[in-house]
Amino acid sequence: MAAGRRVGRPGIPEVFALIGAASFLAARFLPLLAIHSECPFRLATGLPCATCGMTHAFVALARGDLAEAWAASPLGAGLAGGAWLYALLDLARVGLGLPWPSLPQRAWRALAVATLSAATLNWAWMLWRARMA
């Protein structure tokens, strides 16, 4: 994710924006929850895995139900919202001909640490909630 680059040809940021947009379309219009899927980790241990609830969170948020999305997985809700917001912002950036924002390596690292911390906290919270239930 190099800083301050070209605005010409679509590149890596635009591919991620497309993936974000596609995830919204899939969550909104495909019957994802109708596909009966059980998490093997949950079946084996009775506890949710780190990514449990993600699909429900994406689908709920795509239908505008923030509370349900948050209940399914706070991280999933945040990831879905972040991905779709990013897709919109990148579309606007490309439309306006603006360059990819310049971020120093330290900022990327801080962002990565924050993301992994959030994922860890999310799993801890889901495990705690499953234990209390």
Binding site: I12, I19, Q105
Partner: protein, 298 residues
């Protein structure tokens, strides 16, 4: 002196260093002059010239005295598809990425990861198509086997008639066609998402000095290993392919990101431990079920 072409791996005799065409494949290779770059302190007799591998993929190993990461970067053979032809360019690159990952990823250009992504998408798509075909052919036979196996697994009855059995035993005709069409798109998403996950861990470990492009290049070319999944041994082929991918990617991160082995392996392993915990649980239950079948059957 004797030189080896990095593209076709054949040897040839030459009497000079520098750029020159390989007499076997005709592609340009660069023979580094070992006595040229750093002038030797005491100008005594020039050292004898050993047989040299050509640059870039035959460059000095990382940490070699005087020339750490000194290799000139070059495109992978896959980037020369127009000249070599698709099949040969693909096979040459596959051999380098999967059989010589250390040499390959040390010197491959990371500035244009699009070629690496295309290489990975082709590998994954072909493997996926074969797996879909096997699923369609073997569906009826494997369905019974998996249902029997699941009876032996703790809580396995809860898997009966779920997507696990349906997926592992092959899909319906519509499902098969959908899988074939979706394969390249799923491959693109898979490569980008996993590259992002690996980049996350590399950043946290302070091992992403050459940026996301390098990570994406490694994931793309290392995904060539997933082609092994096309072998007609469903399950085992995927296991071997996945393991090979992890090895190639780990070595690739070490070389392309100019980091240590420990950080590269940690960055590759941690996501699998964290994200694929449920897959591990599923695999464990399958293995447990298979061993139970053997005991009961024997």
């Amino acid at each position: 002196m004797l030189a080896r072409c990095v593209h076709c791996q054949k040897t040839f005799d030459t009497d000079r260093f520098g750029e020159q065409p390989c007499p076997h494949c005709g592609r340009q290779v660069h023979l580094a002059d070992p006595s040229a770059p750093p002038p030797a302190p005491p100008a005594a007799a020039p050292p004898p010239v050993p047989p040299q591998a050509t640059q870039p993929y035959g460059a000095s190993p990382p940490g070699a005295p005087g020339v750490p990461w000194a290799a000139a970067e070059a495109d992978a053979p896959f980037a020369e598809r127009a000249k070599l032809g698709w099949v040969r360019a693909y096979l040459d690159t596959w051999k380098l990425a999967c059989l010589q990952p250390s040499l390959f990823f040390r010197s491959v250009k990371v500035a244009s990861p699009g070629k690496a992504v295309l290489f990975g998408v082709i590998s994954m798509t072909v493997a996926s198509w074969f797996q879909t075909l096997y699923g369609a052919l073997m569906g009826a036979a494997t369905r019974g086997m998996f249902q029997e196996m699941l009876k032996q697994v703790p809580q396995g009855e809860r898997f009966q008639d779920t997507w696990v059995v349906q997926w592992m035993s092959g899909a319906t005709a519509i499902g098969t066609v959908a899988q074939l069409i979706a394969a390249p798109f799923v491959s693109v998403v898979w490569i980008f998402i996993w590259a992002a996950i690996y980049q996350l861990f590399l950043l946290v470990l302070g091992a992403a000095s050459r940026g996301f492009e390098a990570t994406l290049t490694v994931v793309g070319y290392a995904s060539g290993a997933l082609l092994i999944g096309a072998a007609p041994v469903p399950g085992l082929a995927n296991l071997v392919a996945g393991t090979w991918f992890i090895f190639a990617a780990s070595i690739g991160f070490r070389e392309a990101q100019r980091t240590t082995s420990a950080k590269a392996w940690a960055a590759t392993s941690l996501p699998f431990l964290a994200v694929c915990l449920c897959c591990c649980a599923g695999a464990w239950m399958m293995i447990f079920g298979l061993s139970s079948l053997k005991v009961h059957g024997g």
